[in-house]
Symmetry: C2
Subunit: 371 residues, 2 copies
């Protein structure tokens, strides 16, 4: 095999597929990137068997072939080549999988692995794509992924639920204390689809999605899901089983609704987290009256009292929350003003905007006599 | 005590003295900042007993007093106050060391410690200051501190040697494999002084030195050294004993001298470090002939060959080095072209510029037949 690249093209392709390469594996080939130039184009692939990425890299094929090279080593060599983006880099390999990378007056020799030992990504049916802009998908992921569970006692909580219903995509995550839901209108009407996608795959995917309006195509299958964009295919295994019946946990009824400046509310609640150490269960108490929201926390570290103006309809309420959960939700909302719906001290609050999002947070019990 | 500050003044003073506060100590008072407003000005102090910082903070004293407050907590509260730099912050304490910090509609209550329990910095004789610009001192520290030893088996290697001799300051560090020396001309003629200053103190000091030409004053005493600048006093204990006799390890004789483009040389040597893993002793071989410097490394990871043009006087030489040591030195030189002096494969190289620096690096033995 003999290939020629511009440094920048090679660097970009490697950094994309690197995200699917196993960092440490007993199977050396899982720590490799496959470079395949047998088919008239140069394809690079990373695949840790749960999650795989394939991308096409610009370059010239002087002699076809394929080889698997240790990803970390290859990426380090290419990153440290001369800074000029347009420097020419040549990559050659022989029948014994010796690889030679040359650039200006430097020559690097490393051992590769036979490209045929690499596990190719499964070929899936791609007849029913669902299109969404990359920026929208990127946003939806980042604004829900904080409430998946890190603990995989319940595997389904470590993923996000993707559901297509007609013209709408709904993405849901939950961890037993809260639910985060984001909606996106799709351009077109699609047949119903659903899947539980591993959070780890989504967080890697969102790093390589661009921040622009170009589409990404989604393909659902029994055990996998594919995201296709910019000459790149991202494939992830799905989490088995049925997702939680989230609709039963939501409610549109409420006994009071408040409208508050999101930024003011967020800043004040963030300050209260200073007084919460890791295993502390002391809640932030919200005391809601007609035009004022009072916040109070009192832990062994110290005490904070703060208040902000609000607009309220409905009854007064005193209710307690883990302030970090409120911060997570408020940080992930772009609206200047938020609507919060509540009922009684033991029932959840909903920070909601019908078209875009619904964040549910369970309250924390507290003794009203102690505050 | 009752004080008023602009948020930004308070924040700046806290972040300066924080650098001398113990992160975790069995003595809670060592994790505190002392705020002392008994003397017509507001002084803040951090002191972990090895290293201390005292700074004067702008503010209004409505009622004098002093208190010690947990540094981490105080700093978090102040950092999370409204973003506006000019927001007014009030700090009050009562006879029971309850402290109240108020700002806009937020009130924070935390417990402090009696200010009299705080260990004040020792008062030293300040009659013979040595003046140097902050940027010069900052540079000298950063360009030598990489070659102190992290391992304190030999305590003296964990410090830097400061030596004043007439109109010149010399700062030296060494770790058994290499020596880094920086010189600075002083404005004036001073009596001889010397001290071994802990590397940890210097690295914290250099974070708060400004990058401008304002002076910092140095005071040497038996067991301490003081750095005074911008209303701030930094005091460090010294390391006991006599420093190594560095002048005996240096030599002005050489058998060849090369002139090389620093950046080209550095980039090529950096690339060779890709093939060096932590415990690897395989050296980078330099093969120096009249107009070319060839570099070669061959480890179990792979092999690199590279060459750059040089100008040389003297004989040819083949010599091996730990490439990381060469990288460290070359990274800390600003000159576009460097002069390197060598003799035989077993004697050190010197990267030297008479007025500013002298970096000595010991070579590594290698078998010339194996390369």
């Amino acid at each position: 095999m003999k290939l020629e690249f511009k440094k920048n093209d090679l660097n970009t392709a490697i950094s994309i597929v690197m995200k699917a390469v196993a960092v440490k594996s007993p199977m050396t080939v899982l720590e490799c990137i496959l470079i395949d130039a047998t088919d008239g184009k140069i394809t690079m692939t990373g695949n840790d068997m749960e999650f795989g990425i394939e991308t096409v890299c610009d370059g010239v094929i002087l002699e076809p072939g394929k080889i698997a090279l240790e990803a970390k080593l290859l990426s380090e060599i290419v990153r440290k080549l001369p800074e000029d983006r347009d420097t020419d880099v040549s990559l050659q390999s022989d029948d014994y999988n010796n690889a030679v990378i040359s650039c200006e007056n430097s020559v690097f020799k490393i051992m590769g692995i036979d490209g045929n030992e690499f596990s190719m990504l499964p070929q899936l049916d791609k007849s029913h794509p669902i299109a969404i802009s990359q920026i929208t998908l990127k946003n939806i992921i980042s604004k829900t992924i904080f409430s998946i569970s890190a603990n995989d006692v319940n595997k389904k909580m470590t993923g996000e639920y993707f559901e297509v219903d007609g013209g709408r995509l709904t993405v849901t995550s939950l961890d037993g204390h809260r639910i985060s839901i984001r909606y996106a209108e799709l351009n077109g009407n699609y047949q119903a689809q659903k899947a539980i996608v591993p959070g780890k795959s989504l967080s890697e995917l969102s790093k390589i999605l661009s921040g622009d309006m170009d589409d990404v195509l989604l393909y659902f299958s029994q055990n996998h899901m594919i995201f296709e964009f910019n000459n790149t295919i991202v494939l992830t295994r799905l989490i088995d089983g049925d997702y939680f019946q989230v609709s039963k946990m939501l409610s549109d009824d409420y006994e009071l609704k408040i409208l508050a400046d999101r930024r003011k509310l967020l800043e004040n609640i963030e300050r209260s987290t200073i007084f919460v150490r890791d295993n502390d269960k002391q809640p932030l108490i919200l005391n809601i009256t007609d035009e004022v929201l009072e916040m109070r926390i009192n832990t062994e570290i110290g005490r904070m009292d703060a208040k902000i103006p609000i607009r309220k309809t409905g009854k007064d309420l005193m209710i307690g929350f883990n302030p970090r959960f409120l911060v997570d939700a408020l940080k992930n909302i772009d609206d200047e003003e938020v609507s919060i719906y509540m009922s009684i001290p033991r029932s959840p609050c909903f920070i909601r905007n019908e078209n875009n999002y619904n964040y549910m947070i369970l309250p924390v019990n507290f003794n009203p006599n102690s505050v």
